[in-house]
């Protein structure tokens, strides 16, 4: 799933640049802040992404995968309580 090196295709590769949304920039900053403070490293980030159900992984964008992993790893470590993010978002 995560180490396949791409699927065979005859479709052209989209090489166009695109702007990142604010939430994507914040996600990048969050992951680096977590690493700098010793809460989560890049290998844990990768493991969290690899733990995604395959269909969810395929649907998610690059930074959506990062967010999934941050929530997974921080919940595992007890930094976040289970359901804490959902509860905050519901307010």
């Amino acid at each position: 799933m995560h180490d396949r090196g791409g699927w065979p295709t005859d479709a052209p590769i989209d090489r166009s640049e695109h702007d990142l949304a604010d939430w994507e920039l914040l996600t990048d900053a969050l992951v680096h802040a977590l690493a700098r403070n010793g809460l989560m490293n890049v290998d844990e980030l990768r493991r969290g992404i690899e733990s995604m159900p395959p269909d969810e992984y395929e649907r998610a964008s690059y930074y959506e995968r990062w967010l999934y992993s941050v929530e997974t790893i921080l919940t595992e470590k007890g930094v976040l309580a289970p359901g804490e993010l959902d509860a905050r978002l519901a307010k």
């Binding site: 090196g5 490293n41 290998d43 844990e44 493991r47």
Partner: protein
């Protein structure tokens, strides 16, 4: 075992549950050491809260694409280059 630039190596074909940085499509395949990056902490333990020590040597290994994906030949100047940790490599003479 330490490897030198230019040396033929084979990637171990073993299964490995959990996070690791060796792509499935190079397992069991042979290539050539193109560069020695140095030694780095081991992602296989660091991904689970470990300190990643002892550090493992990391190599840039180049593969002929047709060795990885049969039928992909015809563009023989292409190389597939993968960073692979030493404990995944064996001498391939």
């Amino acid at each position: 075992m330490t490897f030198q630039a230019g040396q033929r190596v084979r990637v171990a074909a073993r299964a490995h549950e959990g996070h690791h940085r060796t792509p499935a499509y190079v397992k069991g395949k042979s290539g050539r050491v193109e560069r020695i990056h140095g030694a780095f902490t081991n992602p296989e333990t660091r991904a689970y809260g470990g300190d990643g020590l002892p550090e493992q040597r990391l190599y840039l290994v180049g593969f002929d694409p047709s060795d990885l994906w049969p039928g992909s030949g015809g563009q023989t100047r292409d190389r597939v280059q993968v960073d692979i940790y030493e404990h995944w490599l064996e001498d391939a003479g």
